[in-house]
């Protein structure tokens, strides 16, 4: 995989503003240098050339997709096979990528390959670096996909498999991938600026400030809830606690190895680290079998929460080389490996789906896994995988600084998100192929199952679902098979996914005897992502906070000021730590009340990102195609604002935070000792406090997002009013100035014949002009 880049330009100062031949998308060159872009006519001819073979291929893809959708949505009778999910998803992704993303590229984005990307004109060997598109696809995917797409679909499986499948696939095509692509492109045109900076420049002070505050608040809640997923997965599980805890010494060892023993041998240390990780999982089994050791590692959820809070603080202030960088290698290694393995396993094993297409909870709002009706709560429960605002933080700031060519933004941005969507589909498959009774027993809160197999079986059977049966012996047998004390009320999605993965992977490797290994392998895999997200998120948030504080107290701008760094880190950790602790001790069950808030926060960030994109596109004058952005923006705004309104104003206590709050306050005032699932006066106080915090956060998020959206709409309207006058201030363009590109690379995964020809010309040119001498301060 050679990176086909030419000499990076010295950047900035001395570069004359191009005129004449450079201003259009022409093939003009300086001297004998080949053009930096394919001739637009050649490009168009390539796109429009429909050979019989090509037509046959796309007809075949469409037929496979249609068959997949037919089997999932319409065919009834026999049990549905998981392979149809793969067919429906992959065929739909291919069609959307080839046709819809191409349409967006041609009409709305209009990339220009004669224009140098920030990676080229700002190259510094660090964050700005032209990177091979296939490698960058891997980096971008590893940065956007974490535990989110694995958890949301599992919880949404309570409504059956069909609503989640449709939303994941249609949502990604029309919303999620569009957002990622546009944010990536617009940020690239602006030197890789972050979403917050773009908001400030394009929306003004009020909208920009609201966007930054919203981003910070949302990062806190997202980190807290991810950490809560880990706590729930590790609670009362000595095997899980031991093996996940071992990732810390393993990462430290890798860090020291890379710094002092074998600098730069990343692949080598990752293989060693992976082997140690496997050993830690196996050793976890020995720990769980030994009564004395099992006792040591059986921890209360509150203890684990404190552990993660302390860990989060320490990890965020330790130097990157010691813990974060090596763990990131492990996490990437596992991510790419396991997701590939899972895709193969699903295709080979082809498990049968046990869930109905549409469960009764799709039309009710009292589902035991999470409360609320399908509309809007399905769309906030599955955020990552369909539409995830958090991606805007990667698509701006990180990835745009690495793109070689503008036309690659479609493959990386749109294509990268399609891959995450596929991960979400696989997680959904894992959740809908396990026994339905087991699914509800694992995902209903301990407040209703009493945490016992008998209680869980009684509760699940009382739901009155046809064909769903839970019996205590089956629940106990499952716990034993996966090497856990109990699987009842292991909420948060991670344990359910782990059981699903263990089911599928054990059929491929090792059989039933390997169930417990695969279960803990999956738990480790999720915990690794989440811990990486927790300390990377804390670091990013801490820098955002010092930057904002720096506007008031200039001392905070100095990043080498240790006290300031610790203080801001402590503030961020206290923020998510408090919400985590609240979730862990919540008498109502924690994750099922908090997860909707996670989804709403994430989707509100998506609304903010899309609003910024709408303004930018309007300023560019693309009014005819603004609907490409307006459509997902309108949908996500309705979903999140309506969802927030329900969370704030719904009179149903299970749904509305304030309704719950006043119900418990009334109970307290009447002198009740127990109320609902709260069995002590302290628990009643806890509910009153928690619902107050959750309700206040809901209000904060929605207010901030509405400010940003309204500002964006105003700016868009202003730009529209001056559509005939591109020079008007409301049309002010915040792009970096044009610089001519001096390199070439193909746009997509596979280079087309004209792209190959141009690449060949460049290779020849570089042979004729080896090592260009330039004056620069490298």
């Amino acid at each position: 995989m050679s990176t086909s880049y030419g000499p990076p330009s010295p950047g900035g100062a001395g570069e004359p503003t191009p005129a004449g031949p450079f201003t259009g998308t022409t093939t003009a060159t300086a001297g004998d240098r080949p053009p930096a872009a394919l001739d637009p006519e050649v490009l168009e001819r390539e796109d429009r050339r429909w050979t019989p073979g090509k037509i046959a291929l796309w007809v075949a893809i469409a037929l496979v997709g249609a068959l997949g959708w037919f089997m999932l949505a319409i065919a009834r009778g026999e049990a549905v096979n998981a392979i149809w999910f793969v067919f429906a998803a992959v065929a739909t992704y291919l069609i959307a990528y080839r046709f819809y993303s191409k349409f967006i590229e041609n009409r709305l984005v209009r990339p220009d390959d004669t224009r140098a990307t920030p990676a080229e004109y700002k190259a510094n060997g660090k964050d700005f670096m032209p990177t091979d598109r296939r490698v960058l696809y891997g980096h971008h995917f590893a940065a956007i996909a974490g535990a989110g797409p694995l958890v949301g679909p599992v919880l949404a499986a309570q409504m059956g498999y069909l609503p989640g499948t449709i939303w994941i696939i249609v949502g990604v095509i029309l919303a999620g991938a569009v957002q990622d692509y546009l944010v990536l492109f617009f940020s690239m045109r602006r030197g890789g600026r972050s979403l917050g900076q773009m908001a400030r420049e394009d929306l003004g002070v009020v909208g920009g400030t609201a966007a930054i505050v919203a981003t910070l608040a949302i990062m806190i809640i997202i980190t807290a809830i991810l950490a809560l997923v880990v706590v729930n997965a590790l609670g009362e599980s000595p095997w899980g606690v031991f093996s996940v805890a071992m990732t810390i010494p393993i990462a430290l060892f890798m860090g020291v190895y890379l710094r002092y023993l074998r600098p730069g041998k990343v692949m080598e240390v990752s293989v060693i680290g992976f082997a140690l990780l496997m050993l830690a999982i196996i050793a976890g089994g020995w720990v769980a079998e030994n009564a004395a050791w099992a006792e040591v590692f059986t921890l209360e959820r509150t203890t684990i929460a404190w552990g993660i809070i302390i860990y989060g603080f320490v990890a965020a202030i330790l130097p990157v080389w010691l813990l974060l960088a090596p763990r990131d290698y492990l996490s990437t290694f596992m991510k790419i490996g396991v997701i590939g393995l899972l895709a193969i396993a699903i295709v080979v094993v082809r498990p049968e789906v046990t869930a109905p297409a549409v469960d009764v909870f799709a039309s009710r709002s009292d589902g035991p896994v999470f409360p609320g009706s399908l509309f809007p709560f399905l769309f906030v429960t599955i955020a990552c995988g369909a539409l995830s605002g958090f991606h805007a933080l990667i698509s701006s700031g990180t990835t745009p600084k690495l793109l070689e060519k503008e036309r690659q933004a479609r493959f990386i941005g749109y294509g990268g998100m399609l891959m995450e969507s596929f991960v979400a589909i696989m997680a959904l498959v894992a959740a809908v192929t396990i026994d339905r009774g087991l699914y509800f027993a694992m995902n209903s809160s301990a407040a209703v199952t009493q945490g016992t197999v008998e209680g869980a079986a009684a509760f699940v059977n009382s739901l009155g679902l046809t064909g769903v049966n839970a019996d205590p012996a089956m629940l106990q047998a499952t716990a034993e098979a996966v090497g856990e004390e109990s699987v009842v009320s292991r909420t948060g999605g991670a344990p359910t996914l782990a059981v699903g993965l263990a089911n599928i992977l054990a059929q491929l490797f090792g059989g039933g005897g390997m169930m417990s290994f695969w279960y803990h392998f999956a738990i480790m895999f999720e915990a690794l992502f989440i811990l990486t997200a927790v300390d990377a998120g804390t670091r990013v948030a801490r820098f955002m906070l010092s930057d904002s504080l720096g506007n008031v107290f200039p001392k905070f701008k100095d990043t080498s000021w240790r006290v300031g760094a610790w203080l801001t880190t402590a503030i961020m950790v206290a923020g998510w730590g408090a919400i985590l602790y609240m979730g862990v001790t919540d008498p109502l069950g924690g994750i099922n009340t908090l997860f909707p808030l996670f989804g709403i926060a994430n989707q509100l960030l998506a609304a903010i990102a899309l609003a910024v994109c709408l303004t930018i596109a309007a300023k560019r004058g693309s009014f005819q195609y603004l609907w490409i952005i307006a459509l997902p923006l309108a949908f996500v705004t309705v979903i999140t604002v309506y969802g927030s309104i329900l969370k704030i104003f719904s009179p149903v206590p299970a749904v509305g935070y304030w309704a719950q709050n006043s119900a418990f306050r009334a109970a307290k005032a009447s002198g009740a000792e127990t109320f609902g699932t709260a069995r002590t006066p302290e628990a009643i106080d806890a509910v009153i406090r928690n619902t107050f915090i959750q309700g206040s956060l809901s209000i904060l998020f929605v207010v901030l997002a509405v400010i940003v959206i309204v500002t964006a709409l105003l700016r868009t309207a202003q730009a529209f009013a001056h559509r005939g006058d591109p020079e008007h201030p409301s049309r002010h363009d915040t792009e970096d100035p044009y610089r001519p590109a001096e390199m070439y690379a193909p746009a997509g995964l596979v280079a087309s014949p004209p792209e190959k020809e141009l690449q060949r010309q460049w290779a020849e040119y570089h042979r004729a002009h080896p090592r260009p001498r330039r004056h620069s301060h490298g």
């Binding site: 660090k126 670096m129 600098p263 730069g264 990157v320 080389w321 990437t332 933080l393 990377a536 260009p772």
Partner: protein, 74 residues
């Protein structure tokens, strides 16, 4: 007989190439080849002073990362 040996050789050659390509892809995705990219970059700037050694490069890179955290998504 001769054909079979030839075929086996061909096959071994092919397998080695696939393994090499996978290894390179893996290294790139893990960012293990960052130093090589730095060397290329350094050469292209035409800078007079010699490039950093591998150990120096990683120290410098990690020190820079301390002040420029990259997000990881959910």
């Amino acid at each position: 007989m001769g054909d079979a040996t030839l075929l086996r050789q061909e096959l071994r050659h092919l397998l080695r190439r696939v393994a090499d390509a996978l290894g390179r892809a893996g290294r790139s995705v893990l960012t293990a080849d960052k130093y090589e990219h730095y060397l290329k970059y350094h050469a292209s700037t035409g800078c007079e002073h010699p490039p950093m050694t591998e150990a120096e490069f990683w120290r410098d890179y990690h020190a820079w990362q301390d002040d420029n955290p990259q997000g990881r998504c959910c």
